[in-house]
């Protein structure tokens, strides 16, 4: 029974993210349902239903918007690197979330085993993921720049499989806990609304990262080279820009951002060895809907997706993830190149 409690509390949090998952009344419901012979999954859905029913803020559209925006910012951090590298080299890197997973595990290891403060582990997560991505890019990916989409998909799916197996080998298949400092826990009250401190921290961090990213792309020489390579790779080469090197640097940056996103994601969505697979789908949706190579597109798509996913889980929990897949298919049928895509 002891191992069941964290698992259920995480599933409850995923089904109904608005409320503190340690809500005892929801737990009682789940255990009653389990004892009555329901399967675990159905019992959790049943518990989650009461979980929000018992939650006073169900009508608070602002609360849903806030949580959805925080979730969207997480998706933005996870996906922006993939969007830019896909736009630049047309390289379909499905292993992007493996870098995020690495970042998550670095943070978990450093906080739990070595007692680092949580904030200090974030740069470490960024650096570890950036390092791994640059190594993979130099060793494997560069061979396949001119290969077909399918070959690139397969190579990177192979890497995802390997990363999932390695994570399960080292850390086992259980959810990893993360120790947050006390000033990031609990909630704060802003103009009469109760907001989770951690989600507020997440939003501020992501906005700062997005601002730095946009400024770096718009106002530095390196940013100009990246934009040139995304817009027209052959022309950029013709002008003497070393596109391969620019790409390697961008790739490392994108992988690092994914690592940072993975570290920040643990508190919101949990971390286990299947992370690289589970969030791959979400990241791909953001990239495809936003349009390749567009930071603004990723931002808009991630926000839209985060809010619609949260609203869907919150108002129509029985539909599950149905809503966001529907949103994605509809958007792609309307604009195959994505919201901000040009090709």
């Amino acid at each position: 029974m002891a191992g069941l409690v964290p698992a259920i509390s995480l599933r409850l949090a995923q089904c109904s993210p608005r409320r503190d998952a340690r809500d005892t009344s929801a737990f009682t419901r789940v255990f009653d349902a389990l004892c009555a012979g329901m399967t675990t999954e159905r019992a959790i859905r049943y518990g989650a239903y009461y979980h929000h029913a018992g939650c006073g803020v169900i009508g608070s559209a602002f609360g849903v918007l806030f949580d959805g925006f925080a979730y969207g910012m997480l998706l933005f951090l996870l996906s922006v690197g993939l969007s830019v590298t896909l736009g630049m080299m047309n390289f379909v890197n499905l292993a992007h979330c493996s870098f995020a997973m690495l970042g998550g595990y670095v943070t978990v290891t450093l906080t739990n085993a070595l007692d680092w403060p949580f904030l200090a582990t974030l740069p470490a997560a960024f650096l570890a993921a950036a390092l791994l991505s640059v190594v993979l890019e130099r060793v494997l990916y560069r061979r396949l720049y001119r290969a077909s989409d399918l070959d690139q998909c397969l190579l990177t799916i192979g890497i995802v499989f390997m990363s999932v197996a390695i994570a399960a080998y080292i850390y086992g298949t259980i959810q990893q806990p993360v120790k947050l400092p006390s000033y990031l826990r609990g909630s704060v009250s802003v103009i009469g609304q109760t907001l989770g401190t951690y989600r507020l921290f997440l939003i501020v961090t992501s906005l700062v990262v997005a601002a730095i990213l946009v400024a770096a792309l718009e106002f530095t020489r390196f940013g100009a080279m990246v934009r040139a390579a995304v817009d027209n790779q052959r022309m950029a080469r013709g002008l003497g820009i070393d596109v391969d090197r620019v790409f390697a640097a961008t790739f490392a940056l994108g992988g690092g951002l994914a690592g940072l996103g993975g570290a920040l994601a643990i508190e919101i969505v949990g971390l286990d060895h299947t992370f690289a697979f589970t969030y791959l789908v979400y990241v791909l949706i953001v990239v495809a809907v936003g349009g390749l190579g567009s930071i603004a597109g990723s931002f808009a798509a991630a926000t839209l997706l985060g809010i619609s996913d949260m609203a869907g889980k919150y108002y129509f929990p029985e539909l599950g993830a149905f809503l966001i897949y529907l949103v994605m298919v509809a958007l792609l049928m309307w604009r195959p190149a994505g919201l901000f895509g040009r090709r």
């Binding site: 999932v164 495809a288 049928m333």
Partner: protein
């Protein structure tokens, strides 16, 4: 792909040369019967292999020949599986007509989807196939009154095959049944690929914009082959439902779509035997490895994928064909 002298003759001669049965093919199908004698304890696994091979063959039709990359092909597999399972649950447990109903239902779904598929290429196409697959999986999960949700579909009872052969625990009937269906649909696929229609599909794969320019608008061909492949995948799913007498949500999952893609690529896409060889190698290896530790299994399959992409771009059969130019197009 084959010798240029054959291609230089008339198209009729080229197709006739392709359609002739080679001794190695006949030997291959005879060898498929040997599990009855050599490994009678593994007939359940053998029937799973035959079903997976049929599923991979259906993906080969659209991916290997028409060049449509799909990450959601399990949608049709699962749809056929649930159709056959529900038919049996509601009192019609006759296997062959159940197979037919499931194939028709999945084909109809594929026909509907093909109007969307034919409009897109590249990343948008991959994402839309993925999205449609996930949509169906979520719908099946939500409609637990119909599908049994996460518990799976219970209460599937099959009648005797042809009124004679009961489905047993050892998979004797299951393997013969799956292998016969695989062989029949393989003949259909073989005939289809070695026809002018099959040539047009290969044209679309090689250059999607040149085909309309020579007067063969590609969307009609894509719709047809997509419908056929969907029906074939539905039949494969129905076989699984009938031989195991249960249907789980896993039949619709992204994992299954990814696995079948891996199987096809390992074997060699764009080759009729690619899916079958891939299924044999993959399923036997998984059976052996997962006995040791299921988590290691994914490490090795990942490593194998990386190695195949880097060293054997045309899959295992492609690599063999390069080594043995005479045995060629096995």
């Amino acid at each position: 792909m084959t010798t240029s002298s054959a291609a230089a003759a008339s198209p009729q001669q080229y197709l006739a040369a392709q359609i002739r049965w080679r001794p190695v093919e006949i030997a291959f199908w005879l060898a498929m019967l040997t599990p009855y004698v050599l490994t009678p304890n593994y007939l359940v696994l053998a029937s799973q292999i035959a079903i997976t091979a049929l599923f991979a063959l259906s993906l080969d039709l659209i991916l290997g020949y028409a060049g449509i990359v799909s990450l959601g092909h399990a949608a049709f597999f699962g749809f056929g599986s649930y159709t056959a399972g529900l038919a049996a649950k509601w009192g019609w447990g006759e296997p062959l007509s159940g197979l037919l109903i499931a194939g028709l239902a999945a084909g109809l779904l594929g026909y509907g989807a093909s109007f969307i598929i034919a409009r897109f290429r590249h990343l948008a196409l991959i994402m839309i196939t993925l999205g449609l697959g996930l949509l169906l999986a979520e719908a099946a999960n939500s409609a637990s009154w119909l599908t049994g949700g996460a518990d799976g579909l219970q209460g599937v009872r099959m009648w005797k095959l042809l009124g004679i052969f009961a489905f047993d625990l050892y998979g004797r009937t299951a393997y013969g049944y799956s292998l016969a269906v695989l062989f029949l649909l393989f003949l259909v696929a073989r005939r289809l690929i070695n026809s002018p229609f099959g040539l047009a599909l290969r044209g679309i794969r090689e250059n999607a914009s040149r085909m309309p320019a020579i007067g063969a608008a590609s969307s009609g061909y894509i719709r047809k082959i997509y419908t056929i492949a969907a029906a074939m995948a539905g039949v494969a799913g129905a076989l699984l439902a009938q031989t195991t007498e249960t249907v789980s949500l896993e039949t619709l999952s992204f994992q299954r779509s990814a696995d079948v893609l891996v199987i096809l690529i390992l074997g060699g896409a764009g080759r009729l035997y690619g899916g079958i060889v891939g299924a044999i190698i993959y399923m036997v290896a998984r059976d052996q490895f997962s006995g040791i530790n299921p988590q290691y299994w994914y490490f090795w399959i990942g490593a194998l994928l990386v190695a195949v992409v880097v060293f054997l771009p045309n899959g295992i059969l492609g690599g063999l064909a390069r080594l043995l130019p005479a045995g060629g197009r096995a």
